[in-house]
């Protein structure tokens, strides 16, 4: 491995020279981990939806990480992360689908314990029926856990979001975990061009003393398995402390927004802001939405794109502003429940202009033609459907 020197986080993320590589999304995530000065990676080897944790195992073997721990199952993996991070380590893991759901109870406790960890979520369907195909319904379960949720469109996003997440999550006013989601297979197994920071530079190590809660070394008395005694006494005060504690998790989530602006250029990207019809999408669907905008432009139609990078904190204000003049809003998604459409509807005053779809799931791809159909409908354009024999 090349000797890595520690450089300032702002320099690495915003100024350092970049080298262009043609790699898969899984490789992009591992490359980000390589540059993030991670202490420990913790994994449970679920039926591989992606090779992220295998690649991270490789870079551990090369000496980029201090430790690699294979947990007994997902709940154990997510609990081990909490222990490692409380002990002062910078930790990373990746999971997907049923694995994410099995670890979800532990994951949902991370923000309350102020655990700054980074979790890759390489989405796949939730069983049953058994499948390992891409589908991002699991993001719906993450949305209310308190975790910051970013949704990457492509390999470049995967690299940028993952590397920036280590920096953002450890800001003292944030200090909660960040999930970097992207579609399994479509992004993790496909190659794309990624501009990467130099291999011989890495982030400064984590400083556990710069934290909103006391660091615990887990050994020296008073030893405390749980930082705070359970707040479950049956009286008003205990309920109130739990209430303000939850508020603190979500306040921290909101505070992450300014760093999303700083390091990721904002929570949304708007293409053709003057459009009358907008495609609003996140993750892989944003790539197809981008294609739909290109198709529409070729046909002389005034269509724009709002790509949502940050699902939590949800950029309500930004979306409301971007869609203030829209006549129709089309929300294509890779899941059956339509979690993004619901979020967008809740964010704008005239929610009846939102078209919840097209939606594909179970591992199906999202053809641009499906989005175009919705665009034609919104613009009142009739297109004949042909059967090619």
């Amino acid at each position: 491995m090349p000797e890595q020197r520690v450089v300032d986080a702002d320099y690495l993320l915003l100024e350092a020279p970049r080298e262009r590589k043609f790699i898969t999304g899984a490789q992009a995530m591992a490359e980000a981990v390589k540059r993030a000065n991670v202490d420990i990676a913790i994994a449970y080897p679920i039926t591989p939806q992606s090779e992220v944790m295998h690649l991270v195992g490789d870079i551990w073997a090369q000496g980029y990480l201090k430790d690699y721990y294979r947990a007994e199952e997902e709940y154990g993996a997510m609990s081990a992360i909490a222990g490692a991070v409380r002990g002062g380590a910078r930790a990373f893991s990746a999971t997907s689908g049923p694995g994410l759901l099995r670890g979800l109870e532990a994951i949902a406790s991370w923000p309350g314990h102020r655990i700054p960890a980074v979790l890759g979520v390489l989405t796949r369907v939730v069983n049953a029926p058994l499948s390992i195909q891409p589908d991002n319904v699991e993001i719906a379960y993450l949305l209310h856990s308190g975790v910051v949720v970013l949704h990457a469109e492509n390999q470049q996003d995967v690299f940028d979001f993952t590397l920036a997440s280590f920096v953002i999550s450890e800001k003292v006013d944030v200090y909660i975990p960040i999930a970097v989601c992207t579609e399994g297979f479509f992004v993790t197994h496909a190659k794309g061009y990624v501009n990467m920071t130099p291999e011989d530079m890495k982030l400064p190590p984590r400083d556990p003393y710069k934290a909103p809660v006391p660091p615990t070394d887990c050994e020296i008395p008073p030893a405390r398995i749980q930082r705070d005694a359970p707040v479950q006494k049956s009286n008003f005060m205990s309920y109130l402390i739990h209430a303000v504690w939850q508020q603190e998790v979500w306040s921290s989530n909101i505070r992450a927004m300014k760093y999303i602006y700083k390091y990721l250029g904002g929570p949304i990207e708007v293409v053709n802001p003057e459009a009358e019809v907008f495609v609003v999408a996140s993750g892989c669907a944003a790539a197809q939405g981008r294609e739909a905008v290109r198709y529409a432009q070729l046909e002389g139609l005034n269509v724009g794109l709002v790509k949502v990078k940050s699902i939590r904190p949800f950029p309500e204000k930004e979306i409301r502003q971007a869609l203030s003049r829209a006549k129709a809003v089309i929300v294509p998604e890779h899941n059956i429940v339509g979690w993004l459409a619901k979020e967008v509807k809740a964010a704008i005053p005239n929610s009846d202009i939102v078209v919840g779809g097209p939606r594909v799931y179970g591992g199906m791809t999202l053809p641009v033609e499906l989005i175009m159909e919705k665009i034609y409908n919104a613009l009142g354009i009739k297109k004949e459907k042909k059967v090619v024999v």
């Binding site: 003292v172 402390i241 209430a243 504690w245 979500w250 306040s251």
Partner: protein
Amino acid sequence: MPMEVLPGPAGYIPTPAAFEGVELPPPGKALLYGKIVDEGTAMREAAKAMLTRRNPTIFPGPLVLWGWNAGAMEKAKAVLELAMEIPNCRIIPMPDYRPKYPKIDPEAEINPNHPNLTILHNKIEACIFVGVHCHYANLSLRMIRAGTNCFTIALCAEMGHEDAMVSLRDQHAEEIRRFKDVLVQVREELGIKWEPKLPPENPSLPKEEYQTLSVLDYGEYSYLLIPRRGEQVTESE
């Protein structure tokens, strides 16, 4: 338009200022009632509150109480110097974050899970949080705003707190001494006569007798200090 963060009582369940658009100040600035202002302006308003409101109290937290590094010790000294300049100021520590069940003594210490009890019990109408880890400061400040009329001031070593009426960021010994100078100046402007003196002893804290200290005084943690029956400790790290 961000909310105005004013002394409470805000009511049954307080809305966090962060939910209402209040953002933490950039370096060199401060928060006053939820708005970003110059540090000097916020310091003057904080000083005025500590000088004119009833029962001003400083709540030092573990980051100044535990003396875990030279900076913390110097900061603790600065806090004491500040307390000496505030007429009839008291110090009620927050030495640990564990809730004290079945009962806390609100005169002896402030419990972040019950901060408003301490405020109400002592009729405190102006207070300073210093050396409290941000998470616990935020919880306490919000609960105090919910149920009391106390004017809260946060002297934060990090980025500040949206739920305090005055929030100063990056506060270490030097900055606390600067705040003390501002406070003395405001005090003179207000014509308040005061000779610097130490705050009164905390009447509820038991006197520490190290000569008679026993393992049993460590309560639930005593097992960490004494070997189990039959256990022979031959070496330790």
